[in-house]
Each structure stands twice: as C-alpha cells, then as structure tokens.
C-alpha cells in the first residue's frame, strides 16, 4: 500500500511539446484540400490586383470626383486620341442606383423569403414541402436574363397599378414622388425583379437555419401552452436571427452585383435619382455592361475602377454581415 502513496513533486514539470507525425497519405490529402482552399483566395486576389492595376489611373486623374460626380464623358479627339483633360468619369448616380435597387430588393424580398421559410419548416405538409423546395432551388438556378425579360414584358405592365398606388398615397415622401406622368422602366420595377431574384437564396438559408431549431426548445415552448406562433417568437426567431441576417446579406450582395436583369428592365440614365418611380437609374454593374462594348481603352480603365468600387462595396457588406452575425449570434443559441 505504501508504494502507491502520492508523492508531490517539488517543482512543476516542464510542459511537453505534443506533436504527431502524420502519415504520408494524410499529408497528400492535406495538400490537396489546402490547395483547393487557397486557390479561391488566390483567384480573388488576382481579380483584385487586376482591377487595382487597371483602375488606378482613373482614381489618380478623377480623384474623389469619381465617387461624387455623375458625369461620364469619354472625349476622343478627331485624331482618335483621348482627350484626358475633358474626359470626366463619375459613378455617383450608379452608386446611388445600386443602393436604391438593392434596398428595394431586400425590403420586398426578405419578408417573402422568411415567410416562405417559416411555412416550409413549421407549417407545410411533407408533400407540398418537397415540391416547393425543388421549385425554389430551380428558381435559384434560373438565368438572370430571363428574370429581366419577364420583368420587362410582364411585371412592368402589372406593377404599374402598384406604382401609381404608391405615388398616390405615399407621394409626399420624396422617395415615391413623381414629377410628370408615370413611365415604366423605373427603379421600382427593377427592384422588384431583384427582390424575386434574391428570394431563393434568402429562403433556403433561412429554411436551413429554422430547421436546425433545437427540438427540445420547441417542445418546451409547446409544453408551456404556447401556440405555434408563440413558439416561433420565443424559440425559432431568436435561434435563427443571426442566420437570417447572414442570408439577407448574401441576398443583398447578389442584388448589388446583379447586371443583366437590371440592364434589361431599367432605363439607364446618368442622373442621381432618389425617386424610385421615376424612369431613370441603373447600377454600377449594369453600367459597366452598357459601356463595355464601345469603350475606348482609356474608358475601360474607368470601368475597371467602377468595378473595383463595386468589389469593395460588396466586401464591406459581407464584413458587415459577419459582424452582425457574430454580434447577434450568441444570444439565441
């Protein structure tokens, strides 16, 4: 018995370095997945470098006016030379357009998406759920030009009534003000098309997060005499909130970068337009598409600079999303 006595060491032992020697196959696999992970970062870095390299010139000559003015003039002299002094590039109108369109998309699209996700997770019978999930996934894979065409040919006509209604009752708000008659091809319509386009991604992310709501908490809410709505408010929403914010930000990213649909629906006009019912506007991406075909090499540099601004804007939105998710994430979990 005495041999099993606990002896106290006089000093703390030195901490050992814990290492393991991975097998060869493990190292190979690790190399493969690491290169996969790094390559996406590399590609992103290369695109950023490309945009910086090409756009830098424009930032240098235009300065802050590139962001604050709405003047886009590429003056070419008769000899075919670029007139640097008289050429002006500014994307303020398009930046504001981007902002307005994506905000409309989020305001209209997110409630629909979250509602659909709640329906699919907590209300829909199994058979309907399967069909709807397939349909929504299909919607995500739908080419954006088709959304644009549909918006142009169908939605513009049918949304005219809503646009006029908005103007009639909310026209005192500058946002819905309209000087002169209503003409189609307004940011309002383009925003609606974008709203429809972000529904799939926001819905599937929200649905995923709602379906992970811990069952024991759901049962606790029901066992306390909660209705389904009360359960959603007390349990499902607090749990899913941060995930939904993440989904909304992804949707916002998509709405900001959307090109073809906006290009198809909207009358792209270089003019700062805060009135969403007025037929003028555009966003940065659609402007790049519009100008790219006939741009001189000098103007293309300006387009690259615009692309860089869009890139940074998307980066900011995503970082904000991460910040919000990490801030609100803990409480409901």
């Amino acid at each position: 018995m005495s041999s099993a006595q606990v002896t106290k060491s006089p000093a703390l032992p030195e901490k050992r370095v814990i290492t393991t020697r991975p097998r060869f196959s493990d190292r190979v696999f690790r190399a493969i997945v690491t290169s996969g992970g790094l390559s996406s970062l590399l590609i992103l870095g290369l695109i950023l470098a490309f945009l910086l390299y090409n756009g830098f010139d424009t930032f240098r000559t235009q300065g802050i006016h590139f962001l604050t003015s709405s003047n886009w003039q590429a003056v070419v002299s008769d000899a075919g030379k670029v007139d640097v002094v008289n050429s002006h590039f500014g994307i303020a109108a398009m930046l504001i357009g981007t902002l307005i369109l994506s905000v409309i998309a989020v305001v209209v699209g997110v409630p629909i998406s979250v509602g659909a996700a709640i329906f699919l997770t907590f209300y829909a019978p199994q058979s309907i759920k399967k069909i709807m999930v397939t349909a929504i996934d299909l919607m995500a894979a739908f080419p954006s030009v088709l959304f644009g065409l549909w918006g142009f040919f169908v939605l513009e006509g049918s949304a005219e009534y809503w646009a006029k209604l908005l103007n009639k009752y909310l026209g005192w708000i500058p946002l819905f003000k309209l000087d002169g008659p209503y003409v189609n091809r307004s940011p309002f319509i383009a925003g609606l098309v974008l709203a429809i386009m972000i529904i799939p991604i926001v819905t599937s992310i929200s649905r995923e997060i709602f379906s992970q709501t811990p069952l024991d908490r759901i049962q606790a809410a029901y066992a306390l005499g909660g209705t389904r709505f009360a359960m959603l408010r007390a349990v499902a929403f607090p749990y899913a909130r941060s995930g939904i914010v993440g989904g909304v930000m992804l949707g916002l990213g998509r709405a900001m970068g959307e090109t073809v649909a906006v290009y198809t629906v909207l009358n792209i006009v270089y003019q700062v337009n805060w009135h969403i019912l007025f037929s003028a506007g555009g966003n940065v991406a659609s402007m790049i598409l519009l100008k790219f075909g006939e741009a001189s090499p000098y103007e293309i540099k300006a387009l690259m600079a615009a692309g860089l601004v869009l890139f940074v804007l998307t980066l900011i939105v995503n970082s904000l999303a991460n910040l919000i998710v990490s801030r609100t994430g803990k409480s409901g979990r």
């Binding site: 908490r217 029901y222 066992a223 306390l224 359960m231 749990y239």
Partner: protein
Amino acid sequence: MSIEPDKNEGENMETTSRPGSLSDIAAQHAEKKPGSQALGVGLEARGIHAWFGQKHALADVSLDFWSGTVTALIGPSGCGKSTFLRTLNRMHEFIPGAAMAGEVLLNGEDIYSPGVDVTKIRLKVGMVFQKPNPFPSMTIAENVLAGLKLAQLKVENKDDLLEECLERAGLWSEVKDRLNTHGGALSGGQQQRLCIARALAVRPQVLLMDEPCSALDPGSTLRIEETISHLSSSVTIIIVTHNMQQAARVSDYTAFFLSDGGPGQMIEVGSTNEIFSRPKDQRTENYVTGRFG
C-alpha cells in the same frame, strides 16, 4: 438494498383514507362518475394505445392519477412509459406518424375530444423534460415567466410569481441575485430546476416529468427529488424514471411497464410500498429486485 417508500404516509390527512392500491380503488368506484372531485382523481387514462407509424408502441393502459400524489412510471427502455406520459398532455402527436386510441380525462373531460384547445390542456398539464431546456435567449426571470408570454396570460404581480415559482422549485436562494442574467450559465441541475419553475409559473394542475434527473449528478438529483416532495402537496406529479431508488423515494404510487417485444403494457400498478415489497406479478418482482432490465 433497503427501500423505504411511502415516507409521507399519513401526512395528507385531509384526503382521509389514502388508497392502498390504485386499481382496487378504481374498481370500487367504477360505477361512480369518472373525474369526480370527491375522489380526487384529476387525470384518468382510459385504454390508451399508441402507435408510431405501423409500430404499436403501447397497448391498453388505464391508469388514474390522484390529486396531490406522485406516481412513478418504471420499466426497462422501450416499454412505452415515456410514450404514455406524452399522451397525457398531447405532446405525443408532435412525432410524425404518431397515433393514439383511448381517452385521457382531465377533470372528467377528454383532452382529445374535437374542439379542445390543446394549448389550454398543456397549461393544465405541464411537462419537464429529460434534458434541461431553458430558453438560452432569455434571462432567468424571463425563462420562469416564459409560459405567461407564450400562452398570453396576464398576471397581477410578476415579481411575486417569479419568487414563488423559484422558491417552490428550490432555486430562489441560488439565483435571486442574478435574475437578469442568462440561464445558460447555470449548472445542469439548476437549469432543470429553472425548467420546473418555468413549468410551475402557469399553475399546472398536473406536472409530467420525463426522466428529469437522468442527465444530472447525484447532488442535483437529490435537490430535484426534494423539490418533487415539496410540490406534491399542490400538484399531481407523474414521473418517468429509470432509477428505482428514485421511484421509491419520491412516489406514492408506482406503475410498472414492460414490453415483451410487442407493444408496451402496464403490468402492475399499486402503492409504491406494495410494488417494491410485495409485487403481485412475477415480472414486476424480477424487475424491482434487479433480476433483469
């Protein structure tokens, strides 16, 4: 192993003749109206069957629960005791494909009859789960009062109710200084007592407990058992447990469930004293003496 149930025998003098065997009493008063308050039967299960899809999980269980008593449901895993418990407050129907037959009478009214508001049933028949499940987004105080919010009940003085429920659940002294902190920081046993306080706040008539201590250490288990003893004078308690000492310590009546491969059945019910000392059925004896299960 010495088991001394019925520790509080003769304590409830106001209910005069404390029934010795639930089945005897039920037979004696079979001709009387079910749910008669004079009898003190708050909750009656009549011929309960339960299915999960095609699987017949529980067959023909009839059991009365007397007001102000603790009934333990014991038996090996898969014998249908938890399923039976969940039919008593209609939590059974949340499992897809779940079905049931029979009647559950709460104060003489069938809780499964059409037109019954199930949320009202669950207010009267509360539940505590196996795993402590406080709402992590809420503070301790909000957790206790969560039922009021969920069921949209109005209460005169929330602070009094909060203190009362935490006191009854045996948690007040431990959390009174941090009512507005989140419940997630509590220990497992404290969380479970918080869940008991939460269940009490809507003033249930019956409290169902589904293995409330199986995830807890012995110290916390002891606290929960003390809580159960304190509560039993005001609330009818039905507890599913795998721990036979626990059944013996806390319950007045014990029902033994068993499945012989087919649907689970109730083999025997009686006062806890009887079940553990002189069971009528050989299978019960085998189980309570630890020969199987």
